[in-house]
Symmetry: C2
Subunit: 238 residues, 2 copies
Protein backbone atom coordinates (compact mmCIF):
# COMPACT_ATOMS: atom_id res chain seq x y z
CA UNK A 1 0.00 0.00 0.00
CA UNK A 2 1.26 3.40 -0.96
CA UNK A 3 0.86 6.20 1.59
CA UNK A 4 -0.62 9.55 0.58
CA UNK A 5 2.00 11.97 -0.71
CA UNK A 6 2.55 15.33 1.08
CA UNK A 7 0.41 17.40 -1.24
CA UNK A 8 -0.69 20.95 -0.47
CA UNK A 9 -2.95 21.57 -3.42
CA UNK A 10 -4.99 19.57 -5.90
CA UNK A 11 -5.40 20.59 -9.55
CA UNK A 12 -8.35 19.02 -11.34
CA UNK A 13 -8.92 18.25 -14.93
CA UNK A 14 -12.57 19.18 -15.48
CA UNK A 15 -14.17 17.82 -18.69
CA UNK A 16 -14.80 14.15 -18.02
CA UNK A 17 -13.12 14.20 -14.62
CA UNK A 18 -15.46 16.55 -12.73
CA UNK A 19 -18.35 16.92 -15.16
CA UNK A 20 -20.17 14.59 -17.51
CA UNK A 21 -19.76 16.58 -20.73
CA UNK A 22 -21.42 13.93 -22.88
CA UNK A 23 -24.61 13.43 -20.89
CA UNK A 24 -24.93 17.19 -20.39
CA UNK A 25 -24.49 18.04 -24.07
CA UNK A 26 -27.03 15.39 -25.07
CA UNK A 27 -29.57 16.93 -22.67
CA UNK A 28 -28.89 20.43 -23.98
CA UNK A 29 -29.20 19.21 -27.56
CA UNK A 30 -32.53 17.58 -26.85
CA UNK A 31 -33.77 20.80 -25.23
CA UNK A 32 -32.79 22.70 -28.36
CA UNK A 33 -34.25 19.93 -30.52
CA UNK A 34 -37.65 20.07 -28.83
CA UNK A 35 -38.26 23.46 -30.38
CA UNK A 36 -36.47 22.78 -33.69
CA UNK A 37 -37.88 20.05 -35.85
CA UNK A 38 -35.25 17.83 -37.49
CA UNK A 39 -34.48 14.64 -35.59
CA UNK A 40 -30.87 14.84 -34.55
CA UNK A 41 -28.74 12.11 -32.96
CA UNK A 42 -27.58 14.29 -30.07
CA UNK A 43 -25.25 11.64 -28.69
CA UNK A 44 -23.42 11.55 -32.02
CA UNK A 45 -23.50 15.35 -32.10
CA UNK A 46 -21.94 15.55 -28.62
CA UNK A 47 -19.25 13.05 -29.56
CA UNK A 48 -18.45 14.94 -32.75
CA UNK A 49 -18.28 18.26 -30.87
CA UNK A 50 -15.88 16.78 -28.35
CA UNK A 51 -13.89 15.04 -31.09
CA UNK A 52 -13.19 18.45 -32.66
CA UNK A 53 -11.51 19.57 -29.47
CA UNK A 54 -8.07 17.99 -29.77
CA UNK A 55 -7.50 18.93 -33.43
CA UNK A 56 -8.60 22.52 -32.67
CA UNK A 57 -6.24 22.78 -29.70
CA UNK A 58 -3.46 21.20 -31.72
CA UNK A 59 -3.74 24.12 -34.15
CA UNK A 60 -3.17 26.52 -31.22
CA UNK A 61 -0.42 24.40 -29.66
CA UNK A 62 1.47 24.22 -32.96
CA UNK A 63 1.20 27.97 -33.49
CA UNK A 64 -0.98 27.64 -36.60
CA UNK A 65 -3.65 29.62 -34.72
CA UNK A 66 -2.84 32.43 -32.28
CA UNK A 67 -4.06 31.96 -28.71
CA UNK A 68 -7.77 31.18 -28.94
CA UNK A 69 -9.92 30.53 -25.89
CA UNK A 70 -11.85 27.30 -25.70
CA UNK A 71 -15.24 29.04 -26.03
CA UNK A 72 -14.10 30.24 -29.44
CA UNK A 73 -12.72 26.84 -30.45
CA UNK A 74 -16.01 25.25 -29.38
CA UNK A 75 -17.86 27.77 -31.54
CA UNK A 76 -15.66 27.07 -34.59
CA UNK A 77 -16.34 23.34 -34.22
CA UNK A 78 -20.05 23.94 -33.60
CA UNK A 79 -20.39 26.08 -36.73
CA UNK A 80 -18.86 23.29 -38.83
CA UNK A 81 -21.11 20.66 -37.24
CA UNK A 82 -24.22 22.78 -37.75
CA UNK A 83 -23.32 23.40 -41.39
CA UNK A 84 -23.00 19.65 -41.93
CA UNK A 85 -26.16 18.79 -39.98
CA UNK A 86 -29.86 18.82 -40.77
CA UNK A 87 -30.37 21.63 -38.23
CA UNK A 88 -31.43 24.81 -39.98
CA UNK A 89 -32.55 28.26 -39.05
CA UNK A 90 -30.94 28.66 -35.63
CA UNK A 91 -30.73 32.31 -34.61
CA UNK A 92 -27.30 33.64 -33.62
CA UNK A 93 -28.58 34.00 -30.07
CA UNK A 94 -29.56 30.31 -29.99
CA UNK A 95 -26.15 29.27 -31.27
CA UNK A 96 -24.42 31.44 -28.67
CA UNK A 97 -26.58 29.86 -25.99
CA UNK A 98 -25.95 26.32 -27.24
CA UNK A 99 -22.20 27.01 -27.30
CA UNK A 100 -22.55 27.97 -23.64
CA UNK A 101 -23.87 24.46 -22.90
CA UNK A 102 -20.21 23.87 -21.94
CA UNK A 103 -20.71 26.42 -19.15
CA UNK A 104 -23.61 24.37 -17.82
CA UNK A 105 -22.13 20.86 -17.76
CA UNK A 106 -23.36 18.73 -14.88
CA UNK A 107 -20.98 17.19 -12.34
CA UNK A 108 -20.67 13.44 -11.82
CA UNK A 109 -22.82 12.38 -8.84
CA UNK A 110 -19.89 12.22 -6.39
CA UNK A 111 -18.15 15.42 -7.51
CA UNK A 112 -19.72 18.13 -5.34
CA UNK A 113 -19.62 16.19 -2.08
CA UNK A 114 -16.18 14.80 -2.84
CA UNK A 115 -14.76 18.25 -3.60
CA UNK A 116 -16.23 19.64 -0.38
CA UNK A 117 -14.37 16.91 1.55
CA UNK A 118 -11.14 17.44 -0.36
CA UNK A 119 -11.38 21.20 0.23
CA UNK A 120 -11.13 20.74 4.00
CA UNK A 121 -7.47 19.72 3.87
CA UNK A 122 -6.27 21.02 0.53
CA UNK A 123 -6.47 23.94 -1.83
CA UNK A 124 -8.62 22.69 -4.71
CA UNK A 125 -8.25 24.33 -8.10
CA UNK A 126 -9.31 23.62 -11.64
CA UNK A 127 -6.57 23.04 -14.19
CA UNK A 128 -8.53 22.73 -17.37
CA UNK A 129 -8.27 23.70 -20.99
CA UNK A 130 -11.63 25.42 -20.49
CA UNK A 131 -11.37 29.20 -20.36
CA UNK A 132 -11.80 31.09 -17.11
CA UNK A 133 -15.34 32.31 -17.87
CA UNK A 134 -16.46 28.81 -18.84
CA UNK A 135 -15.05 27.30 -15.63
CA UNK A 136 -16.33 30.14 -13.44
CA UNK A 137 -19.84 29.96 -14.87
CA UNK A 138 -19.82 26.15 -14.63
CA UNK A 139 -18.79 26.29 -10.97
CA UNK A 140 -21.52 28.83 -10.20
CA UNK A 141 -24.14 26.86 -12.12
CA UNK A 142 -23.25 23.48 -10.64
CA UNK A 143 -22.16 24.63 -7.17
CA UNK A 144 -18.57 23.41 -7.44
CA UNK A 145 -16.63 24.79 -4.45
CA UNK A 146 -13.26 25.62 -6.06
CA UNK A 147 -10.75 27.64 -4.07
CA UNK A 148 -9.29 28.90 -7.31
CA UNK A 149 -10.07 28.73 -11.03
CA UNK A 150 -6.91 28.00 -13.02
CA UNK A 151 -7.04 27.54 -16.74
CA UNK A 152 -4.88 27.01 -19.78
CA UNK A 153 -6.06 30.51 -20.68
CA UNK A 154 -4.09 32.02 -17.80
CA UNK A 155 -0.78 30.63 -19.03
CA UNK A 156 -1.83 30.76 -22.70
CA UNK A 157 -0.81 27.16 -23.26
CA UNK A 158 -3.09 24.17 -23.60
CA UNK A 159 -2.50 20.93 -21.72
CA UNK A 160 -0.45 18.85 -22.07
CA UNK A 161 2.10 21.66 -22.60
CA UNK A 162 4.37 21.69 -19.51
CA UNK A 163 3.71 25.43 -19.01
CA UNK A 164 0.21 24.55 -17.78
CA UNK A 165 1.31 22.23 -14.95
CA UNK A 166 4.33 24.29 -13.91
CA UNK A 167 2.35 27.53 -14.23
CA UNK A 168 -0.36 26.16 -11.95
CA UNK A 169 2.18 25.26 -9.26
CA UNK A 170 3.78 28.70 -9.53
CA UNK A 171 0.42 30.50 -9.31
CA UNK A 172 -0.60 28.42 -6.29
CA UNK A 173 2.74 29.13 -4.62
CA UNK A 174 3.70 25.48 -4.23
CA UNK A 175 6.48 23.32 -5.61
CA UNK A 176 5.50 20.95 -8.45
CA UNK A 177 5.86 18.00 -6.08
CA UNK A 178 3.38 19.61 -3.66
CA UNK A 179 0.69 19.79 -6.34
CA UNK A 180 -1.36 16.75 -7.27
CA UNK A 181 -3.01 16.56 -10.68
CA UNK A 182 -6.35 14.76 -10.54
CA UNK A 183 -7.69 13.44 -13.83
CA UNK A 184 -9.60 10.65 -15.50
CA UNK A 185 -7.17 10.80 -18.42
CA UNK A 186 -3.86 8.99 -18.31
CA UNK A 187 -2.16 11.24 -20.89
CA UNK A 188 -2.90 14.31 -18.74
CA UNK A 189 -1.42 12.59 -15.68
CA UNK A 190 1.67 11.37 -17.52
CA UNK A 191 2.34 14.93 -18.72
CA UNK A 192 1.83 16.29 -15.18
CA UNK A 193 4.12 13.63 -13.77
CA UNK A 194 6.83 14.54 -16.27
CA UNK A 195 6.74 18.05 -14.75
CA UNK A 196 7.21 16.68 -11.23
CA UNK A 197 3.59 16.85 -10.08
CA UNK A 198 1.95 14.15 -8.00
CA UNK A 199 -0.84 12.33 -9.80
CA UNK A 200 -4.20 10.80 -8.92
CA UNK A 201 -6.21 8.83 -11.44
CA UNK A 202 -9.98 8.86 -11.00
CA UNK A 203 -11.95 6.28 -12.95
CA UNK A 204 -14.79 7.68 -15.07
CA UNK A 205 -15.79 4.59 -17.00
CA UNK A 206 -18.94 6.21 -18.47
CA UNK A 207 -17.27 9.36 -19.86
CA UNK A 208 -17.84 8.30 -23.48
CA UNK A 209 -21.22 6.71 -22.88
CA UNK A 210 -22.35 3.16 -22.27
CA UNK A 211 -20.99 1.76 -25.54
CA UNK A 212 -17.37 2.82 -25.13
CA UNK A 213 -15.06 0.88 -22.87
CA UNK A 214 -12.63 3.26 -21.11
CA UNK A 215 -9.25 2.03 -19.90
CA UNK A 216 -9.50 2.38 -16.13
CA UNK A 217 -6.81 -0.16 -15.35
CA UNK A 218 -4.38 0.77 -12.58
CA UNK A 219 -1.17 2.43 -13.82
CA UNK A 220 1.65 2.09 -11.28
CA UNK A 221 3.14 5.37 -12.52
CA UNK A 222 0.46 7.32 -10.67
CA UNK A 223 0.56 8.05 -6.93
CA UNK A 224 -3.11 7.37 -6.32
CA UNK A 225 -5.87 5.49 -8.07
CA UNK A 226 -9.41 6.33 -6.99
CA UNK A 227 -12.91 5.12 -7.79
CA UNK A 228 -14.33 8.64 -7.40
CA UNK A 229 -13.76 11.88 -5.46
CA UNK A 230 -15.09 10.46 -2.19
CA UNK A 231 -12.60 7.62 -2.49
CA UNK A 232 -9.85 10.11 -3.30
CA UNK A 233 -10.74 12.12 -0.16
CA UNK A 234 -10.54 8.94 1.93
CA UNK A 235 -7.15 8.04 0.47
CA UNK A 236 -5.72 11.54 0.96
CA UNK A 237 -6.95 11.61 4.57
CA UNK A 238 -5.45 8.20 5.32
CA UNK B 1 -31.34 58.68 -7.78
CA UNK B 2 -29.23 56.65 -10.15
CA UNK B 3 -30.47 53.20 -11.09
CA UNK B 4 -28.17 50.18 -10.88
CA UNK B 5 -26.18 49.61 -14.08
CA UNK B 6 -26.60 46.34 -16.03
CA UNK B 7 -23.57 44.61 -14.56
CA UNK B 8 -22.88 40.89 -14.96
CA UNK B 9 -19.79 40.60 -12.81
CA UNK B 10 -18.13 42.44 -9.95
CA UNK B 11 -14.36 42.78 -9.59
CA UNK B 12 -13.14 43.66 -6.11
CA UNK B 13 -10.08 45.44 -4.97
CA UNK B 14 -9.00 43.46 -1.89
CA UNK B 15 -6.45 45.21 0.41
CA UNK B 16 -8.43 47.84 2.29
CA UNK B 17 -11.66 47.18 0.39
CA UNK B 18 -12.38 43.59 1.50
CA UNK B 19 -9.83 43.09 4.27
CA UNK B 20 -8.43 45.24 7.04
CA UNK B 21 -4.72 44.90 6.25
CA UNK B 22 -3.66 47.33 8.95
CA UNK B 23 -5.50 45.81 11.89
CA UNK B 24 -4.53 42.31 10.75
CA UNK B 25 -0.81 43.11 10.38
CA UNK B 26 -0.77 44.77 13.81
CA UNK B 27 -2.27 41.61 15.35
CA UNK B 28 0.24 39.39 13.53
CA UNK B 29 3.11 41.66 14.63
CA UNK B 30 2.02 41.49 18.25
CA UNK B 31 1.82 37.69 18.04
CA UNK B 32 5.37 37.61 16.73
CA UNK B 33 6.39 40.23 19.32
CA UNK B 34 5.08 38.18 22.22
CA UNK B 35 7.79 35.65 21.66
CA UNK B 36 10.50 38.11 20.63
CA UNK B 37 11.53 40.71 23.14
CA UNK B 38 12.08 44.20 21.67
CA UNK B 39 9.07 46.49 21.97
CA UNK B 40 7.98 47.30 18.45
CA UNK B 41 5.37 49.84 17.34
CA UNK B 42 3.47 47.37 15.19
CA UNK B 43 1.06 49.99 13.87
CA UNK B 44 4.00 51.99 12.53
CA UNK B 45 5.52 48.76 11.21
CA UNK B 46 2.28 47.87 9.38
CA UNK B 47 2.06 51.37 7.90
CA UNK B 48 5.69 51.25 6.74
CA UNK B 49 5.20 47.80 5.19
CA UNK B 50 2.17 49.01 3.28
CA UNK B 51 3.93 52.27 2.35
CA UNK B 52 6.63 50.25 0.60
CA UNK B 53 4.00 48.72 -1.69
CA UNK B 54 3.50 51.49 -4.25
CA UNK B 55 7.19 52.25 -4.78
CA UNK B 56 7.92 48.51 -5.15
CA UNK B 57 5.14 48.07 -7.72
CA UNK B 58 6.25 51.22 -9.51
CA UNK B 59 9.62 49.53 -10.12
CA UNK B 60 7.79 46.63 -11.79
CA UNK B 61 5.38 48.88 -13.70
CA UNK B 62 8.26 50.97 -15.07
CA UNK B 63 10.19 47.88 -16.16
CA UNK B 64 13.06 48.49 -13.71
CA UNK B 65 12.22 45.10 -12.16
CA UNK B 66 10.97 42.12 -14.19
CA UNK B 67 7.58 40.74 -13.22
CA UNK B 68 7.70 40.08 -9.48
CA UNK B 69 4.77 38.69 -7.55
CA UNK B 70 3.47 40.63 -4.58
CA UNK B 71 4.62 38.00 -2.06
CA UNK B 72 8.17 38.66 -3.23
CA UNK B 73 7.74 42.46 -3.17
CA UNK B 74 6.33 42.15 0.37
CA UNK B 75 9.38 40.12 1.36
CA UNK B 76 11.81 42.68 -0.13
CA UNK B 77 10.10 45.46 1.85
CA UNK B 78 9.97 43.32 4.99
CA UNK B 79 13.68 42.53 4.80
CA UNK B 80 14.48 46.25 4.62
CA UNK B 81 12.15 47.04 7.53
CA UNK B 82 13.60 44.26 9.67
CA UNK B 83 17.14 45.43 8.96
CA UNK B 84 16.20 48.94 10.11
CA UNK B 85 14.24 47.74 13.17
CA UNK B 86 15.20 46.59 16.65
CA UNK B 87 13.94 43.09 15.82
CA UNK B 88 16.81 40.63 15.80
CA UNK B 89 17.32 36.94 15.50
CA UNK B 90 14.24 35.94 13.51
CA UNK B 91 14.67 32.57 11.88
CA UNK B 92 14.07 32.35 8.12
CA UNK B 93 10.98 30.25 8.83
CA UNK B 94 9.58 32.99 11.09
CA UNK B 95 10.18 35.64 8.43
CA UNK B 96 8.50 33.47 5.79
CA UNK B 97 5.55 33.00 8.12
CA UNK B 98 5.32 36.72 8.96
CA UNK B 99 5.43 37.58 5.25
CA UNK B 100 2.44 35.27 4.87
CA UNK B 101 0.50 37.48 7.30
CA UNK B 102 -0.83 39.00 4.05
CA UNK B 103 -2.41 35.59 3.30
CA UNK B 104 -4.26 35.77 6.62
CA UNK B 105 -5.72 39.28 6.54
CA UNK B 106 -9.12 39.54 8.19
CA UNK B 107 -12.18 40.81 6.32
CA UNK B 108 -14.11 43.92 7.37
CA UNK B 109 -17.13 42.89 9.48
CA UNK B 110 -19.64 43.23 6.59
CA UNK B 111 -17.48 41.59 3.90
CA UNK B 112 -18.36 37.89 4.15
CA UNK B 113 -22.12 38.37 4.46
CA UNK B 114 -22.13 41.14 1.86
CA UNK B 115 -20.20 39.02 -0.65
CA UNK B 116 -22.57 36.10 -0.10
CA UNK B 117 -25.49 38.40 -1.00
CA UNK B 118 -23.71 39.88 -4.02
CA UNK B 119 -22.81 36.38 -5.22
CA UNK B 120 -26.49 35.47 -5.65
CA UNK B 121 -26.97 37.78 -8.63
CA UNK B 122 -23.46 38.36 -9.91
CA UNK B 123 -20.17 36.68 -10.58
CA UNK B 124 -17.86 37.99 -7.86
CA UNK B 125 -14.11 38.00 -8.49
CA UNK B 126 -11.05 39.50 -6.91
CA UNK B 127 -9.08 41.98 -8.98
CA UNK B 128 -6.15 42.68 -6.75
CA UNK B 129 -2.44 43.29 -7.00
CA UNK B 130 -2.06 40.40 -4.58
CA UNK B 131 -0.76 37.25 -6.24
CA UNK B 132 -3.02 34.26 -6.86
CA UNK B 133 -1.66 32.16 -3.96
CA UNK B 134 -2.02 35.07 -1.54
CA UNK B 135 -5.64 35.69 -2.58
CA UNK B 136 -6.52 31.98 -2.66
CA UNK B 137 -5.07 31.33 0.78
CA UNK B 138 -6.73 34.48 2.14
CA UNK B 139 -10.12 33.40 0.81
CA UNK B 140 -9.71 29.95 2.31
CA UNK B 141 -8.54 31.32 5.65
CA UNK B 142 -11.23 33.99 5.92
CA UNK B 143 -14.06 32.14 4.17
CA UNK B 144 -14.49 34.63 1.32
CA UNK B 145 -16.83 33.08 -1.27
CA UNK B 146 -15.23 34.25 -4.54
CA UNK B 147 -16.44 32.75 -7.79
CA UNK B 148 -13.04 33.43 -9.30
CA UNK B 149 -9.63 34.66 -8.16
CA UNK B 150 -8.27 37.20 -10.61
CA UNK B 151 -4.98 38.93 -9.97
CA UNK B 152 -2.50 41.33 -11.50
CA UNK B 153 -0.29 38.24 -11.61
CA UNK B 154 -2.48 36.64 -14.25
CA UNK B 155 -2.06 39.53 -16.70
CA UNK B 156 1.43 40.39 -15.42
CA UNK B 157 0.52 44.02 -14.97
CA UNK B 158 -0.16 45.83 -11.73
CA UNK B 159 -3.17 48.08 -11.24
CA UNK B 160 -3.74 50.78 -12.34
CA UNK B 161 -2.34 49.56 -15.68
CA UNK B 162 -5.31 49.25 -18.09
CA UNK B 163 -4.31 45.64 -18.90
CA UNK B 164 -5.57 44.61 -15.46
CA UNK B 165 -9.14 45.93 -15.89
CA UNK B 166 -9.48 44.94 -19.55
CA UNK B 167 -7.84 41.58 -18.87
CA UNK B 168 -10.32 40.85 -16.09
CA UNK B 169 -13.30 41.58 -18.37
CA UNK B 170 -11.83 39.37 -21.09
CA UNK B 171 -11.17 36.49 -18.67
CA UNK B 172 -14.68 36.75 -17.25
CA UNK B 173 -16.13 36.79 -20.75
CA UNK B 174 -17.93 40.12 -20.34
CA UNK B 175 -17.66 43.52 -21.97
CA UNK B 176 -15.86 46.18 -19.90
CA UNK B 177 -19.20 47.95 -19.38
CA UNK B 178 -20.68 44.75 -17.92
CA UNK B 179 -17.98 44.58 -15.24
CA UNK B 180 -18.15 46.72 -12.13
CA UNK B 181 -14.99 47.53 -10.21
CA UNK B 182 -15.60 47.74 -6.47
CA UNK B 183 -13.00 49.57 -4.43
CA UNK B 184 -12.40 51.84 -1.47
CA UNK B 185 -9.78 53.72 -3.49
CA UNK B 186 -10.74 56.44 -5.89
CA UNK B 187 -7.62 56.14 -8.07
CA UNK B 188 -8.39 52.46 -8.71
CA UNK B 189 -11.95 53.35 -9.72
CA UNK B 190 -10.90 56.24 -11.96
CA UNK B 191 -8.48 53.92 -13.78
CA UNK B 192 -11.21 51.25 -14.16
CA UNK B 193 -13.65 53.85 -15.44
CA UNK B 194 -11.14 55.05 -18.04
CA UNK B 195 -11.22 51.45 -19.38
CA UNK B 196 -15.01 51.49 -19.64
CA UNK B 197 -15.80 49.55 -16.46
CA UNK B 198 -18.65 50.46 -14.15
CA UNK B 199 -17.53 51.61 -10.72
CA UNK B 200 -18.72 51.31 -7.14
CA UNK B 201 -17.04 53.16 -4.31
CA UNK B 202 -17.20 51.54 -0.87
CA UNK B 203 -16.27 53.71 2.09
CA UNK B 204 -13.61 52.22 4.37
CA UNK B 205 -12.96 55.18 6.66
CA UNK B 206 -10.78 53.17 9.08
CA UNK B 207 -8.42 51.65 6.53
CA UNK B 208 -5.45 53.68 7.78
CA UNK B 209 -6.39 53.52 11.45
CA UNK B 210 -8.26 55.89 13.74
CA UNK B 211 -5.84 58.80 13.33
CA UNK B 212 -6.02 59.12 9.54
CA UNK B 213 -8.99 60.80 7.91
CA UNK B 214 -9.83 59.04 4.63
CA UNK B 215 -11.61 60.91 1.83
CA UNK B 216 -14.94 59.10 1.57
CA UNK B 217 -16.80 61.99 -0.05
CA UNK B 218 -19.13 61.11 -2.90
CA UNK B 219 -17.56 61.37 -6.35
CA UNK B 220 -20.20 61.76 -9.08
CA UNK B 221 -17.88 60.03 -11.56
CA UNK B 222 -18.71 56.66 -9.97
CA UNK B 223 -21.87 54.71 -10.70
CA UNK B 224 -22.50 53.66 -7.12
CA UNK B 225 -21.43 54.87 -3.71
CA UNK B 226 -21.92 52.42 -0.84
CA UNK B 227 -21.41 52.41 2.90
CA UNK B 228 -20.35 48.75 2.88
CA UNK B 229 -20.96 45.48 0.96
CA UNK B 230 -24.45 44.97 2.40
CA UNK B 231 -25.38 48.44 1.21
CA UNK B 232 -23.85 47.66 -2.20
CA UNK B 233 -25.94 44.47 -2.41
CA UNK B 234 -29.10 46.47 -1.63
CA UNK B 235 -28.27 49.05 -4.28
CA UNK B 236 -27.47 46.44 -6.95
CA UNK B 237 -30.71 44.58 -6.19
CA UNK B 238 -32.79 47.77 -6.38
Amino acid sequence: MRSAPPVKALAFDVFGTVVDWRGSLIREGRLLGRRKKPKVDWAAFADAWRAGYRPAMARVRSGELPWTKLDDLHRMILDELLARSAIRGLKEEEIVNFNCAWHRLQPWPDAKAGLAKLKRRHVIATLSNGNVALLTNMAKHAGLPWDCILSAEVVRHYKPDPETYLGAADLLGVRPGELMMVAAHKDDLHAARACGLKTAFVARPREYGPAVKVDVSRDPAFDLDARDFNDLARQLAA
